[in-house]
């Protein structure tokens, strides 16, 4: 192991390009997966609130599966398992696209949707039932009541856990490396095995991850401060 740190190797244009591309892919994956997780999570929470026994059971099966199976396994199932169920023509078409990115995004997004829906549900549960009843009595439809009355309060209450799960989602995009998505961890490994500057490249990658995570946490704290419920 080298005793001296030498970062100048990493300024090589090829390596710089890899790191930059890695960061872009990582952020794309995070953004897409986060959107999917939030939309799907809200839908799941909404379905759970209808109190239809079967719908509720279906959602809880979804949540338990995604929370209790390791995310790496879920990514493998999507990448290696699901395409074999499709017709050859569709498989061919998928392989021509960035299939590893697509499946990583679906896997991470669907897994985190389970966490997000649980966060939202606990937010919804903490709002008195009378609020929904009152808004229904005032003539709002079920969806209007949810969108205008329940959700704005529930999101505010659930914000701390939503933020920590956003950070978790961001960190878990590093697992997409296992199916060959060229995000930051993948680029780090590539550069490391070519330049043998192990410690240096890992210091750089760790700092980038840490900086973005802290940024998400800080943004979350800002949001929490800005949108706090004043009457409480």
């Amino acid at each position: 192991m080298n005793s001296k740190l030498d970062f100048s190797v990493l300024l090589d244009p090829v390596y710089r390009h890899w790191i930059f591309d890695g960061i872009v892919t990582m952020l794309q994956l995070t953004a897409f997966a986060w959107l999917l997780a939030m939309v799907l999570g809200t839908l799941l929470a909404l379905i759970r609130m209808t109190q239809n026994r079967w719908a509720e059971r279906a959602v809880s099966v979804y949540v338990e599966y995604h929370r209790n199976v390791p995310m790496l396994v879920q990514i493998f199932i999507w990448y290696f398992g699901v395409p074999t169920l499709l017709s050859p023509a569709v498989q061919h078409w998928i392989n021509a696209q960035r299939s590893e990115f697509l499946f990583a995004f679906i896997a991470v997004g669907m897994c985190m949707a389970a966490y997000m829906s649980e966060d939202l549900r606990s937010g919804i549960r903490s709002i008195p039932k009378s609020q929904l009843e009152a808004s229904r009595a005032l003539g709002l439809s079920y969806l209007q009541a949810f969108r205008l009355i329940i959700l704005p309060q529930a999101v505010r209450i659930a914000l701390p856990t939503l933020i920590s799960h956003t950070v978790l989602l961001f960190k878990n995009t590093s697992l997409a490396m296992a199916i060959g998505v060229a995000e930051l961890t993948y680029a780090t490994r590539e550069i490391e095995s070519q330049s043998f500057r192990t410690i240096e490249i890992y210091i750089v990658a760790t700092s980038i991850y840490l900086a973005i995570s802290l940024l998400i946490m800080a943004a979350g704290a800002g949001l929490q401060h800005r949108y706090r419920i004043k009457a409480r």
Binding site: M1, R67, N68, V69, P70, M71, L72, V73, S164, V167, K171, N172, S174, L175, M177, A178, T185, R189, T198, I199, Y202, A205, T206, Y209, L210, S213, L214, M217
Partner: protein, 186 residues
Amino acid sequence: MIDIINIVRDNWILLLIGQYPNGPLGGLAITLLLSVAGLALAFPVSILLAIARVSPLRWIRLPATVVVYVVRGVPLIMFIFWVYFFVPLLIGSTVSGFTTMLITLVIYQAAYLAEVIRAGIEGLPRGQSEAARALGMSYMQTIVNIILPQALYNMLPAMVSQFVDAIKSDHIRGTDTVAKRGKCHD
């Protein structure tokens, strides 16, 4: 469907053994061993971290806060790498993949559990510790006899879900080529 059963029947032994030179344990067996050992060690560490996080002394609180934020901000894969490189530097000899993973799990889970326990401590009414101090208990006595039992009890559900997470998180070992690479370096 019958294929799945056949595959499992023909290969179930692979769930229990590992690669040839590194000993007989692997797969499911080592997952269970790692999670149990990791949790048993992480739990006391997390209590210490949580107490440090709420300490009135700045020079105790600050390092604990830094540890928690760094662990929360770095992916587990990156963390495994750092443990793999720095533990040998500290103790002066190479460590096995099992030890590396165990140390990583302990630090990682301890940081997350500490946050859960801290939430439990801060969720208690202030009157509890004030009353205990007023009755003549020392700071440590208050923590051990009054605060911790209540905080741990209140946070039991969140702690259980963190334990489940520990069992799941050692799968990342699978993506880890660090241990293999280490042999080339020697």
